[in-house]
Amino acid sequence: MKPQIRVLLILAILALAAGWASLRRGNAELVKRLAARPAGAAEVAR
């Protein structure tokens, strides 16, 4: 495999991994905020 192709593939994998990690962090933050809401608000939301 050409070194350039290898580098490109590795960069693509790293970008995907970074995107996934960022989404996971954001989702964990949203879950925390949802859990911190008053119980009444959570019932209304569903």
Binding site: L9, I13, L16, W20, L34, A41, V44
Partner: protein, 157 residues
């Protein structure tokens, strides 16, 4: 350890497919979480003030004259009771289902709000509705809906 180029290529591709799947799963989870979490008035204001975010704001208060015409979030599109047929003629073609949307009701906790949110690909409600927006002393517009002019420049809130 020496890996055959062909095998190496497949390993990279498998990793990319697996990671893409994880990104899609987390993305769906994000949309679902955001639906359940209302946006605070100041957070919405900051988003609107920071950039042309492409955010669509829908005012779903049922009484157009006593609600939207009296005061509304700047740039909001009236859609009384979340019924596009009841929106003013000028607003009808501007309501898009796939655009990130914030739904503004009177108090933010009305029963129909979440049914309305479910009709959009990515939507949240405004916490506390228009009442909370007014109480936070954030800028308001009044009057009937007028579609933005094609020549309009970037205004400020």
């Amino acid at each position: 350890m020496k890996v055959k180029p062909n095998v190496e290529m497949w390993l990279y591709l498998a990793a990319m497919v697996a990671l893409s799947h994880l990104v899609v799963v987390e993305g769906h989870a994000r949309v679902d979480l955001e639906r359940r979490l209302a946006v605070e008035p100041r957070e919405l204001y900051r988003t609107l003030a920071r950039s042309r975010s492409g955010l669509q704001i829908l005012d779903v208060r049922p009484d157009l004259a006593a609600g939207y015409d009296e005061s509304h979030v700047p740039g909001a599109i009236p859609m009384p009771s979340c019924d596009e047929a009841r929106a003013p003629e000028a607003a009808r073609g501007r309501i898009l289902r796939s655009v990130p949307t914030v739904v503004v009701s009177a108090r933010g906790d009305e029963l129909g709000v979440h049914d309305c949110i479910d009709r959009f690909t990515s939507a949240r409600s405004l916490a506390g509705g228009m009442q909370a927006w007014s109480e936070a002393n954030l800028p308001e517009d009044s009057g009937e809906y007028a579609p933005p002019s094609a020549r309009a420049g970037g205004g400020c809130l």
